[in-house]
């Protein structure tokens, strides 16, 4: 679109250069399929990090396996490309090791909800202060288009040639019930909105889960395409109360018209705080214990 004020591309380019956005990018060109929503996620993260002025060396991006796995390679931050389904526990390890780091786990629906499904509830309940960007395109892209836990019933893929008969998961409902302290949904087709949500997610102290809807432009030409998503998605109602779990769950339950925005957020003790508290308690306990020991030893010889 043409803005009212004439904007010239090269002016914009200078602006971008000055913004420092590019510093977050690696030199290697992303190898995702052109049009892939991961680009949207990458830019969203890049912009959010830029806005928040988070240093590249203080950022760690952890990925598992799947199309997301290459994510870290396209960022000039610290990155760890791990194993299928293991992004969350590894990220937890990084965060526990160094609370000062901004840790972002990225993964797809297969990585997150199939092989890695066991880790999500625990990252959520521990409220480890990381951000989990889950990229849901309802398909296994890297292995060339098999059904995933979020594939629609009836979806036909090489591994479900006679239609997928499984019901898809409802990740948002899961995360809400897992006790994730920040749950939001974005859409790769709305990059600005996505950026803002990622920013909020990064700012949230605790486990923030951002569900990013995206097509697989290569292996799903029929079901979850940009066209269809464009028509399906809408923003959460303006009056949605993100502190109201019930409301969030109602919204999450409506899968026909996926709603974008912040579903639920609460402030809760993070894993880091918990561990600090434990450390404090332990220090205290030690003092008490010594006292009793002395008492005993006075008595013992009697």
């Amino acid at each position: 679109m043409i803005p009212e004020q004439p904007v010239y591309l090269e002016d914009k380019v200078d602006e971008i250069r000055q913004s420092g956005r590019l510093a977050y990018r690696s030199t290697a060109l992303p190898t995702w399929c052109p049009g892939c929503g991961y680009y949207s996620m990458t830019e969203g993260l890049v912009n959010a990090l830029t806005e928040l002025r988070i240093k590249t060396e203080d950022t760690v991006i952890v990925s598992g396996i799947g199309c997301a796995s290459r994510f870290p390679f396209f960022m000039d931050t610290y990155g760890f490309h791990t194993l299928h389904g293991r992004a969350l526990p590894v990220a937890t390890g990084v965060k526990v090791a160094n609370d000062k780091l901004t840790v972002v786990a990225v993964g797809g629906d297969g990585d997150g909800f199939a092989i890695g499904g066991g880790h999500i509830p625990h990252a959520a309940r521990r409220n480890v202060n990381i951000t989990y960007l889950l990229f849901d395109n309802g398909i296994y892209g890297l292995t060339k288009g098999q059904v995933s836990p979020t594939s629609a019933t009836g979806f036909i893929t090489p591994t479900s040639p006679f239609q997928n008969r499984d019901a898809p998961l409802n990740p948002l409902l899961m995360l809400l019930s897992y006790g994730a302290s920040w749950v939001g949904q974005a859409y790769a087709g709305w990059p600005h909105h996505l950026t803002q949500l990622i920013r909020q997610a990064l700012e949230h102290p605790g486990f923030s889960y951002l569900h990013v809807l995206s097509p697989c432009v290569t292996f799903d030409k029929t079901d979850r395409t940009y066209q269809n998503l464009d028509l399906a998605v809408r923003e959460l109602d303006a009056d949605h109360d993100s502190s109201d779990m019930a409301a969030a769950m109602r919204a999450a339950a409506d899968t026909s018209t996926p709603m974008l925005g912040l579903y639920y957020a609460e402030m809760r003790e993070t894993l880091g705080q918990a561990l600090d508290l434990i450390a404090a308690r332990a220090a205290g306990a030690q003092r008490i214990k010594r006292a009793t020991t002395r008492h005993r030893q006075r008595k013992a010889p009697a």
Binding site: Y78, R86, A97, A300, P301
Partner: protein, 605 residues
């Protein structure tokens, strides 16, 4: 008498009798008294109820590394459980039991009917004494303990302190009760005429017993972790490794360390690798089944060159196998487990002291060689107690990784730079200029994915050859020979907990005049083949005793040395049977004699 102290006391009871607890007090008291202790408890797989518990403690003037094949004293807190163990008491050894059980017992159900003629019975109204002293029969175990102390005139003070320490977290009344029970037992023990020939050489007890610590293998590992300044630990409960986590859960927070119980072993190793990547000294602990789950992530650690320490305490397998029985059947998994050429460092300490040292060094090695280090022990070593010197601490290195290689952070930094020794400059998140992405994909020096043939061969070479120096790493004897020097008839090549029994057997065999020696091998991967080969060449016959069916270590050695060895495999779930081993040595020695006579004559002619 000049004879040095070397006695083994077994306390047998039912879960809930406080068998293990009282055994614990006993060994701690003896350690305080300055004796060397090794102890191995047997407790049931059942959570509660009437499972059998046996606490065996061997105390000696000089540290020994295996239990004796027999006990000198058996205390029965529960006859039904104790009766089958009467046979493990030697002739003229003592058996202490309750002469006044609370309820009538069926014919043959009382231990007094099962003593061997050589045993010396001490029928003691344990329950009554307990009730007399404490008003309740719950302190039978401690009465019995007191009785032993009294009977053998062990230092009462040491026991008082041990008991006080044991119950320091409980209400004071608890400790008072315990002390009263002990004293009554002690009194009757002292006044009992001593028929047995169990001898304790009090003169040789080190007076300054304080600097000696009593630890299990698990405890020693935890201790080593703490000495190494462990920062994060992630674990998932599994017998027999849980003790490590439980200990660290108490101690780490006090030192600002962070411990998280994860949802499974996969998460545990994942988080450990994550923390290692982030620069923390990180570890996890598990057993065979857990290690199997961790195999994939270990591959990542090797590929991404992330330091991490994994403590593995083996138990009876495969599958759930025998969770409370010991076995050395995860060696293959530890050394080779996982996909791809995933060379990692595997240390297998042979005693509790070794557990501590290996645990601490493991962090240093993981850091220096940028690779996961597995410290492989087994249930026997995990749970057995030994006295450990903390005097003259090895000074373990604080966390640091030297900047090797030419590329320095910021300046064309190459995380996986190919260097002479294969070690690359490591940076961790938070360090400007060190930004890189660690990956499980094959990668070039910068860490960029690259599956070009040259890159793969070069990087594979790097990942393997950087470990050569590990065999030279100071502070641990990766191999050590004991027994006869020079050419010998029989050599035992032993690893892990089994080495203790091997050494014991060798000592016994030497008393029989067999020329033999034992070599302990602490480093399983990479295998220090040179010293092992030298040893083997000194031996007419090399026996490899181990607690598994297939002879995993034997296979490893035979494979790497291309030299035949004799498997002495013993997969019963129990520690290596010294007599079984002794027989094997005798046979080997005989065979050797035969072969000598047949072969030597023509040689002479």
């Amino acid at each position: 008498m000049a004879k040095q102290t070397d006695i083994q006391i077994s306390i047998c009871g039912s879960a809930g009798d406080g068998t293990i607890a009282v055994g614990d007090i006993f060994k701690r008291a003896m350690a305080r008294a300055g004796y060397r202790v090794i102890a191995f408890d047997h407790y049931p797989a059942e959570i509660r109820g009437f499972g059998k518990c046996i606490s065996r403690t061997r105390i000696s003037t000089n540290q020994v590394y295996s239990m004796k094949s027999y006990s000198d004293v058996l205390v029965s807190l529960n006859d039904l459980h104790a009766i089958p163990h009467v046979g493990e008491v030697r002739d003229y050894g003592a058996i202490i039991y309750d002469s006044a059980p609370m309820s009538a017992v069926a014919e043959g159900a009382h231990i007094s009917g099962h003593l061997m003629p050589g045993h010396l019975p001490y029928a003691l109204p344990i329950r009554e004494l307990s009730e007399l002293a404490t008003g309740a029969n719950r302190s039978r175990n401690i009465v019995a303990l007191g009785f032993i102390a009294g009977l053998y005139q062990l230092p009462q003070q040491a026991f008082h302190q041990a008991i006080a320490a044991k119950f320091e977290t409980k209400a004071p009344a608890v400790a008072d009760t315990a002390l009263a029970a002990f004293d009554s037992g002690f009194k009757s023990g002292s006044s009992t005429y001593k028929f047995d020939d169990v001898q304790i050489d009090h003169s040789r007890a080190r007076k300054n017993g304080g600097e000696v610590r009593m630890m299990t293998g698990n405890g020693a590992i935890a201790h080593g972790c703490l000495e190494a300044g462990i920062e994060t630990f992630f674990g998932y409960p599994i017998t027999p490794a849980t003790g490590i986590m439980e200990r660290l859960a108490v101690e780490m927070p006090r030192r600002g360390g962070r411990l998280v119980q994860t949802e499974d072993e996969i998460a545990a190793i994942s988080a450990t690798i994550g923390a290692g990547y982030a620069g923390a000294r990180a570890a996890t602990a598990t057993s065979g089944p857990g290690l199997a789950l961790m195999a994939e992530m270990l591959g990542l650690g090797v590929m991404a060159e992330v330091p991490a320490v994994v403590f593995v305490s083996q138990r009876g397998g495969p599958s759930t196998g025998m969770p409370t029985k010991t076995e050395q059947s995860d060696l293959n998994l530890a050394v080779w487990g996982g996909h791809g050429d995933a060379r990692r460092i595997v240390l297998a300490p042979t005693n509790v002291e070794g557990c501590r040292r290996c645990a601490a060094r493991a962090f240093e090695m993981a850091e220096k060689f940028q690779v996961p280090v597995i410290v492989l022990i087994d249930l026997y070593l995990s749970n057995r107690y030994e006295t450990v010197f903390l005097q003259g601490e090895d000074n373990f290195l604080p966390k640091n990784w030297q900047r090797v290689g030419s590329s320095s952070p910021g300046d064309n930094y190459r995380r996986y730079e190919l260097t002479a020794d294969g070690l690359s400059p490591r940076c961790v998140p938070g360090e400007a200029g060190g930004i890189h992405t660690a990956t499980g994909l094959e990668h070039d020096e910068y860490g960029h994915p690259n599956d070009n043939p040259d890159v793969h061969s070069l990087m594979s070479k790097k990942r393997h050859e950087k470990l050569h120096d590990a065999m030279k790493y100071p502070g641990i004897n990766f191999t050590k020979r004991f027994g006869d020097k020079g050419k010998i008839d029989v050599g035992l090549l032993a690893w892990g907990s089994t080495f203790g029994e091997a050494l014991e057997a060798v000592l016994l065999a030497r008393e029989e005049g067999i020329r033999c020696a034992a070599m302990k091998v602490v480093m399983m991967s990479p295998l220090p083949t040179r010293p092992i080969l030298r040893f083997c060449n000194d031996c007419q016959q090399v026996l490899v005793p181990e607690l598994n069916y297939t002879g995993q270590f034997a296979n490893l050695v035979a494979g790497e040395l291309g030299r035949p060895v004799v498997r002495v495999s013993h997969a019963t779930g129990a520690p290596m049977d010294i007599n079984y081993l002794l027989t094997a040595i005798r046979n080997a020695a005989k065979k050797k004699l035969r072969s000598k006579t047949t072969t030597s004559n023509p040689a002479k002619a």
